[in-house]
């Protein structure tokens, strides 16, 4: 009689069967990730707040994972899935390294992540991914994922709880959408970092899961540099 909705783990009972409660395997731990690609660099940034409901677990957890010298993954959403997915991804990258005697390129990681996510199509990793890195020619590239592996390359993408607040602004400022009579200028690292700081400051005003600090990482051919920029803690 207790007809459950189509949630994983639920069973329809026949009339008078044992009644069950089901357990929900996901949680939303918040967080926002942004990545912007330039001609010879990529900037990846994430806030550092990990939440659960109205509580803050910690103010010091960044959502970016360095996968190699040239590739950084930003993942937010269900934190238990984020941890597991990145652990498995790193293991797979190590296996590739041992098999092919070279590190995985950004494009290869992008494809691998996509297949990994689709492999769990019927019990997904509840994660928003943004993969950023330098391709073989040293040009910056950003990929955006849905929870089951659809991915798209592009110039700038956001993910996470504040993603919807930030993406329209970046479309306008980075991709010059809906602007008339404007000459596109090539992006510099300085301008990009400045834009990132602005968008996060705005997003954390309106999104309760975004705040505390932004960890901004810049990938260039010379390596990866990191900066921590404080945000509102409320």
């Amino acid at each position: 009689m207790s007809v459950q909705t189509m949630q994983p783990g639920a069973r329809e009972t026949a009339a008078g069967g044992p009644r069950q409660r089901y357990f929900y395997p996901y949680a939303d731990n918040g967080g926002t990730v942004v990545a912007i690609a330039g001609d010879d660099f990529v900037v990846v940034a994430s806030d550092t707040r990990l939440s659960s409901g109205y509580s803050i677990y910690t103010r010091d957890q960044k959502k970016t994972f360095q996968l190699s010298e040239r590739t950084i993954l930003g993942s937010t959403g269900c934190w238990c899935d984020v941890l597991t997915m990145t652990k498995v991804l790193r293991a797979r990258m190590q296996m590739y390294r041992h098999e092919h005697n070279k590190a995985m390129s950004t494009g290869a990681v992008a494809q691998l992540l996509s297949t990994m996510l689709y492999h769990k199509r019927f019990f997904p990793y509840y994660v928003s991914n943004v993969l950023a890195g330098l391709d073989e020619n040293g040009k910056g590239i950003v990929y955006h994922y849905d929870p089951v592996g659809h991915h798209d390359p592009g110039k700038c993408y956001t993910g996470g709880s504040g993603g919807a607040l930030i993406q329209p602004l970046l479309d306008n400022q980075i991709n010059y959408k809906n602007q008339e009579n404007v000459t596109p200028e090539p992006l510099t690292v300085k301008k990009t970092v400045s834009i990132i700081k602005d968008v996060f400051t705005s997003a954390c005003e309106r999104d309760i899961y975004t705040g505390d600090a932004v960890a901004i990482q810049v990938i260039t051919k010379d390596g990866i540099t990191e900066e921590l920029f404080p945000l509102r803690r409320d």
Binding site: P8, G9, R11, T13, G17, P18, Q20, R21, Y22, F23, P25, Y26, A27, N29, L50, S52, S55, I56, Y57, T58, D60, Q61, C78, W79, C80, L83, T84, M85, K87, V88, A91, R92, M116, H119, K120, F122, F123
Partner: protein, 288 residues
């Protein structure tokens, strides 16, 4: 997942191997719940499910309801942990609640894992006891290996995360939240949190359960942006938090324990009690 039961007699302790490997598609072990009782206790080989399937006439695959526990029964409330200068300190009260009944009033929810790790558990007490036995056996196995490697707090934290995540992925969670404390490989204090979904993080102060709402603000106020606390200041802060939790958490209890870990020593103080100030009761007509 492989269940290996050691040869030569009853052992209540089982060695669980968790393949933290590829995210493979679901291997469906649901039929094991009905055929598990056919498995001999002293198996010398891993259990082979294909040998135990009923193949006679009138076989109808019955959709059995999921009989795994989905709710905790005997539970412990908050565990409060904080780092201080040179170590970590964890406190938990001694109550096992049976719903709203304060049923078991002298249970220990803190555990000394080995010389380098302490942990506390919130949630279902039976699941804690289950994992406690497994962890104890792990420590014995490690000592027998005698290779100079000891499990430290970050390693146990990681292992617990994997175990709890795998259980949640099989829709059979261990309904527990752990606070793991110790020193990491560099000798710096480490405090980690793992919940029943496998969500894990580290922080200078960690509170599980209801105390997350009550004690976390008190801890952060004293610790954020400050130099590390001394051991005495940490202990005082912890007792203050336990007091506030006792005032405001309906499932808390006045008797509690504190476990302190510093380089080279672990101390578990038992029989501590929240005194509390109940003067305010006189303001109420009923208690005048």
């Amino acid at each position: 997942m492989m269940w290996k039961i050691p040869e030569g007699g009853h052992s209540p302790l089982v060695f669980i191997k968790i393949p933290m490997f590829l995210c493979c598609g679901h291997l469906d072990f649901k039929h094991l719940t009905s055929t598990m009782d056919l498995m001999p206790l002293q198996a010398s080989q891993p259990f082979d499910p294909s040998k135990y399937r009923y193949t006679g006439p009138n076989v109808q695959p019955r959709q059995l309801p999921n009989t795994r526990s989905q709710a905790p029964i005997t539970t412990g409330t908050s565990v409060i942990g904080l780092q201080f200068d040179g170590g970590v300190m964890i406190a938990a009260d001694k109550l096992g609640s049976y719903g709203s009944l304060a049923r078991y009033q002298n249970i220990g929810r803190l555990m000394r894992v080995n010389d380098h790790v302490i942990l506390g558990c919130t949630g279902d007490y039976a699941d804690f006891q289950f994992l406690r036995d497994i962890i104890d056996q792990k420590m014995i196995d490690e000592e027998c290996l005698d290779d100079g490697i000891v499990t430290r707090a970050p390693a146990l934290h990681c292992w617990l995360t994997r175990v709890l995540y795998n259980r949640r992925s099989r829709f059979d969670p261990l309904w527990t939240t752990f606070v793991v404390g110790g020193l990491d490989d560099d000798g710096k204090p480490f405090l980690g949190f793992v919940d029943k979904l496998g969500t894990a993080y580290t922080a200078p102060q960690i509170v599980s359960g209801m105390g997350g709402h009550l004690a976390t603000p008190l801890l952060r106020e004293k610790m954020e942006g400050q130099p590390p606390l001394s051991e005495e200041a940490a202990r005082e802060l912890l007792i203050r938090c336990m007091t506030v939790c006792y005032y405001r958490d309906c499932r808390a209890f006045s008797k509690f324990q504190i476990a302190t870990l510093k380089a080279g020593s672990i101390k578990i103080e038992d029989d501590l009690e929240v005194k509390g100030d109940w003067e305010v009761a006189h303001f109420s007509k009923e208690h005048a």
